[in-house]
């Protein structure tokens, strides 16, 4: 056990009943240590418990067994201190707020003063390239733009930890790759710890320092793959033999799919 790890996931298991009353074994004895500033992917097919694990870290779910420690405290304490920035699979924007006021929402919750709010909003919208759309309503934006608003909102509170739950899965391949590059650029400027859930192998290789490969039925950790590709990474890296060999290494590490 690494005491210096920022997030320690220790023997976490999760059981629940689905609507039909069947027992679901969503996670079986998963342990992962995550270092500060690390970009970690939780990768796997549907039913592997990757989203469940993220939600346990975010304190949106309680594990049946095992525990998660974040910066030496419980996930709940971390949530109450608003140290998480969460980007959901759907952008989850509030339709009645303009782009800039969606980014403002968590800042209002943290009772940050108006001047500081405005300067952070400016900065975040510039980072995600939406300065010209700050007065638009969400439904006026494309899916990719909406997701970028979600990222700006998560970053605005300057969270210790960024949790991203398949944020780009609803987007087309072109937009996804563009946002992958944007995300790396943003991350290199902020150096947050990122936990990124995805079912896309090349996305996880492109983004991560380490990829945690999860297999389904029951959800379990089957491998942790170090991604030692140099940074900063650009789209050309997707064409390199090293990239392909990591992708096939990960593809071969799935069990029982």
């Amino acid at each position: 056990m690494n005491a210096a790890a920022e997030i320690q996931i220790e023997s976490v298991s999760m059981f629940y009943k689905d609507n039909k009353g069947n027992d679901i074994h969503a996670l079986n004895n998963v342990s992962i240590d995550i270092q500060k500033g690390e970009f970690i992917s939780l990768l796997g097919p549907s039913g592997c418990g990757k989203t469940t694990l993220l939600r346990i870290i975010a304190d949106l779910l309680e594990p049946s067994m095992g525990k998660v420690t974040v910066c030496g405290q419980t996930p709940k304490e971390t949530r109450m201190q608003q140290k998480y920035g969460i980007v959901f699979q759907n952008p989850v924007l509030y339709d009645w707020r303009t782009v800039k006021n969606n980014v403002r929402l968590p800042l209002e919750m943290m009772k940050i003063n108006k001047t500081e709010q405005n300067s952070r909003i400016e900065k975040q919208l510039e980072l995600v390239g939406l300065t010209n759309f700050k007065n638009h309503y969400p439904h006026q934006l494309s899916g990719g733009m909406q997701q970028r608003v979600g990222i700006a909102r998560a970053l605005a509170i300057q969270p210790e930890i960024l949790l991203m739950d398949e944020p780009f899965s609803a987007l087309d391949e072109f937009t996804r790759e563009k946002l992958n590059e944007d995300l790396l650029r943003i991350w290199s400027k902020t150096n947050k710890t990122v936990i990124f859930v995805t079912h896309n192998i090349s996305e996880s290789v492109f983004l991560s320092d380490r990829v945690c490969v999860l297999s389904p039925h029951p959800g379990r950790l089957s491998a942790i793959v170090d991604i030692d590709l140099p940074r900063p990474r650009t789209r050309e890296i997707r064409e390199t033999p090293e990239f392909f060999s990591l992708v096939s290494k990960i593809r071969n590490s799935f069990e029982g799919v």
Partner: protein, 262 residues
């Protein structure tokens, strides 16, 4: 409004007017109906009467309308508060909802005289009945809005460790606004109807009085002009709500255009 819509509207009104003229003409000249003037008078005559008596009709209408509006505001406030209470507490909902349903089973026609006997005041009766008829559609629609808030929108608030007051102010209430306005749109013309109904119970003024007296007093032209005025009041009440909706829900899709794609 664009040109096409204006044209459609014009043709629509012209069509109705022409059909009505034709109907009135055939009653008089083909069927030789002696009651033609009370069954279906010529619309141009009705409009002429309306113009001639505009002052008295609009004064009567204003009395009825202002009380309807007060009752509507009162009923809408009660409806909103009830909906919020029922959404905060499951028990409150279980206690209150059956009463709300039962309240809608009492015919207003029967309730109005009871209320009048209780308060012995025409204006108060108008307001109470208008409020009574307003609160239910408002409460029911608002509650359904509060219950339709997406789970992921709530989770976002949870992740910010938000307290109940800010969850309501920043999420539940703005989310429910479009639902509230559906209720208000149903309730507005109803509140006018309710106010007219109370007029007829023996009020001294109001458009309902004009309707009643002219119906039994044989002044057919005034009767139809009063019907027109009443209809106009209902329509106006509806459009006031539509305008308020535009002001309070600026994010509604129909009011905005889409920005460019990535």
């Amino acid at each position: 409004m664009n040109k096409n819509k204006t044209l459609v509207l014009l043709v629509w009104f012209a069509g109705i007017f022409a059909l009505w003229e034709l109907g009135a003409f055939s009653l008089v000249n083909i069927f030789h109906d002696k009651m033609a003037a009370s069954k279906l008078p010529y619309p141009h005559e009705v409009i002429a009467t309306l113009a001639k008596n505009w002052q008295t009709l609009s004064e009567a209408g204003a009395v009825t309308f202002s009380k309807a509006a007060t009752g509507f505001a009162l009923g809408a406030s009660i409806g909103i508060i009830l909906a919020i209470l029922m959404s905060i507490s499951k028990i409150a909902e279980q206690i209150a909802f059956p009463y709300l349903i039962v309240s809608q089973m009492i015919p207003v026609l029967g309730l109005a005289p009871i209320i009048f006997n209780l308060v012995r005041n025409m204006d108060a009766s108008r307001i109470i009945i208008a409020a009574y008829i307003t609160f239910f559609p408002v409460a029911a629609n608002m509650l359904s809005g509060l219950k339709s808030v997406d789970i992921d929108k709530r989770e976002l608030m949870y992740s910010y460790a938000a307290k109940k007051p800010s969850i309501y102010m920043k999420l539940m209430l703005p989310f429910s606004l479009p639902y509230l306005f559906s209720g208000l749109k149903i309730a507005a013309p109803l509140s006018v109807t309710a106010s007219i109904l109370v007029d007829m119970l023996g009020s001294k003024n109001g458009i309902g009085v004009k309707l009643l007296y002219s119906l039994y007093g044989g002044t057919k032209d005034i009767f139809w002009a009063s019907v027109f005025t009443s209809a106009l009041m209902g329509i106006i009440s509806y459009f006031i709500v539509i305008i308020a909706e535009r002001i309070f829900i600026p994010w509604k899709k129909e009011f905005n255009t889409k920005a460019g794609e990535d």
